[in-house]
């Protein structure tokens, strides 16, 4: 997602996504972004997957992605499979 502005692209929305395999339950995300993140009874993050609609929330989401010590969070654009137009980076 590098090189992209934090704003909305045409017809697409950003979603905060968790890689549960990386989450080690540090809990920093809960402190930084409690409106979208909860910790379960074992201390692991649970993320609401509703698209982020406003710029202020998107900025906070960007910061929580950077704050995770395990790199378990990321912002992705929601688009149905097959419409991503994905090209390999190399």
């Amino acid at each position: 997602m590098t090189g992209r502005d934090e704003g909305h692209d045409e017809g697409r929305q950003w979603v905060l996504e968790l890689d549960a395999a990386r989450c080690d339950g540090h809990g920093i995300c809960l402190l930084r972004f409690p409106e979208r993140i909860a910790l379960d009874e074992w201390g692991f993050a649970e993320v609401q997957r509703e698209p982020i609609r406003d710029r202020a929330t998107l900025r906070r989401a960007r910061r929580v992605v950077d704050a995770c010590p395990e790199g378990a969070l990321r912002l992705v654009q929601s688009a149905p499979v097959g419409t991503l137009g994905v090209r390999r980076a190399t």
Binding site: A21, V76, V81, G85, R88
Partner: protein, 443 residues
């Protein structure tokens, strides 16, 4: 289901060459048509003599992808994902694509994929070659369990009989783990890492092994493609229904006459008819487990009349998944059976995600306490809360699948649950367990 009805069904089936169901060698079947089980693997010559050659070089990749799109073929590994979407994504992604035939069949009770490898290996290879041509791949991997000697030997022998094929085939031995067949785990393993499921931002069909487009498809899906490429989309759609076209393989397991029997279903039929005709089931079973060990329990009397079709079962929230129908007899405790399944499944976690690592053992322990009448109503509530908090979590479908099985058991076996939670004696033999429990079973 009376014995008379059973005979009627058998007579009806014998009278029709295009019966709604059949097993290896039966006329009217598609994937299982051809030589009978006793004849072992179909040779290259017999395969070509029966089905004719497959000319892929004169077909363009675009026309092959269009054919798959028109057929509506859905993946038969469990996810029912449209094959055309994978092929289109791989073809659009550039690079050096790879085709993987996933024959790891980690579902302990399923037998369909190894049956295809052992008896119709060339049909599976034809499908893989078709997929390779459709995306421009020059390499194919067949991912299987070497410990299943018969199916492995048949596949290896079949590969040796192929010459003039446009793609090279490598056989890779899969680790004997339940989650090792998940497509991202397959990709991880082929990259030289562990067979661990990973959350991927981009589908493996676009960005798989070493960043190259990777089409991972189930062995049965490949076999369907091998016939589809010869006979066309209109023919393919004559079986199944508009939503999930084509025939489908089903493994009958549990309390049936021959557990592990593989049946091909192409026309309208009920689960009861399949169990009567091929499972020797004469009375209504206690319950049927549909779709795999992470599938759903259906009450026996409901199951008998349920339509045996992919789209119909998916619409009922009880998808056919890997095609497993496992029967539990009327004198078996559903709670104890599920406790044993969940204990095994919890141990099959890849150990990566918190909800799976911490949640599943607790679910298993609570179920075991209930099964052994050491737990009461409050524990049932705790179990319900746990399954709700685990569903949808984790990097792969494993934890969600396990708690789905548990929830269906709590609903289907409400009477067992009530009895156990009240500390009453269970009338069924404690040790009775009718399902295969070993993922590495050899065939």
């Amino acid at each position: 289901m009376s014995a008379t009805r059973n005979l009627e069904l058998e007579a009806r089936h014998a009278a029709s060459l295009e019966g709604p169901m059949g097993t290896l060698g039966d006329p009217g079947t598609r994937l299982l048509g051809g030589p009978a089980r006793e004849e072992g693997a179909e040779s290259r010559a017999a395969h070509l003599g029966r089905l004719g050659g497959l000319d892929l070089e004169s077909a363009t990749p675009e026309s092959l992808r269009q054919l798959v799109r028109a057929s509506g073929l859905e993946g038969r590994g469990g996810g029912q994902f449209p094959l055309a979407a994978k092929l289109d994504l791989a073809a659009a992604s550039g690079g050096t694509p790879l085709v993987v035939v996933n024959a790891s069949e980690g579902e302990p009770a399923s037998r369909k994929d190894r049956t295809l490898l052992a008896h119709r290996p060339h049909l599976v290879i034809d499908g893989a070659m078709t997929a390779a041509r459709a995306v421009g791949a020059r390499e194919i991997v067949v991912y299987l369990h070497r410990a299943r000697r018969r199916s492995t030997a048949a596949m290896v022998e079949a590969i040796a009989q192929r010459d003039g094929d446009a793609a090279a085939i490598t056989v890779v031995d899969a680790p004997p783990r339940y989650v090792a067949g998940e497509s991202s785990a397959v990709v991880g393993y082929l990259e030289g890492n562990g067979a661990l499921p990973r959350r991927r931002a981009v589908p493996v069909a676009a960005h798989g092994v070493h960043g190259q487009p990777t089409v991972v498809s189930n062995a049965e899906t490949a076999a369907h493609l091998g016939l589809l490429a010869r006979r066309g989309a209109a023919w393919f759609r004559e079986a199944g229904d508009a939503v999930s076209p084509g025939s489908t393989l089903v493994t009958l397991s549990g309390a049936v006459v021959r557990p592990g029997r593989v049946v091909e279903v192409s026309g309208p039929a009920t689960i009861g008819e399949a169990l009567a005709l091929y499972g020797g089931i004469a009375e209504v079973p206690r319950a049927v487990l549909v779709g795999g060990y992470e599938g759903t329990w259906i009450d026996g009397s409901v199951a008998m009349d349920a339509p045996l079709g992919r789209s119909a079962l998916a619409a009922c929230g009880t998808p056919l998944g890997c095609g497993l129908l496992a029967v539990m007899s009327p004198t078996c405790c559903g709670l104890r059976t599920t406790a044993r399944l969940v204990d095994w499944l919890a141990g099959e976690s890849a150990g990566q995600c918190g909800p799976c690592v911490f949640g599943l053992p607790e679910v298993a322990a609570l179920l075991d306490d209930l099964a052994e009448a050491r737990a009461g109503r409050r524990d049932v509530r705790r179990l319900r809360a746990l399954t709700a908090s685990i569903a949808g979590r984790g990097a792969c479908g494993h934890p969600t699948g396990v708690v789905g099985l548990v929830d269906s058991a709590l609903d289907t076996f409400a009477s067992d649950l009530d009895r156990h939670a009240r500390g009453r004696e269970c009338p069924y033999p404690a040790a009775r367990f009718e399902l295969p429990g070993d993922a590495g079973a050899t065939t």
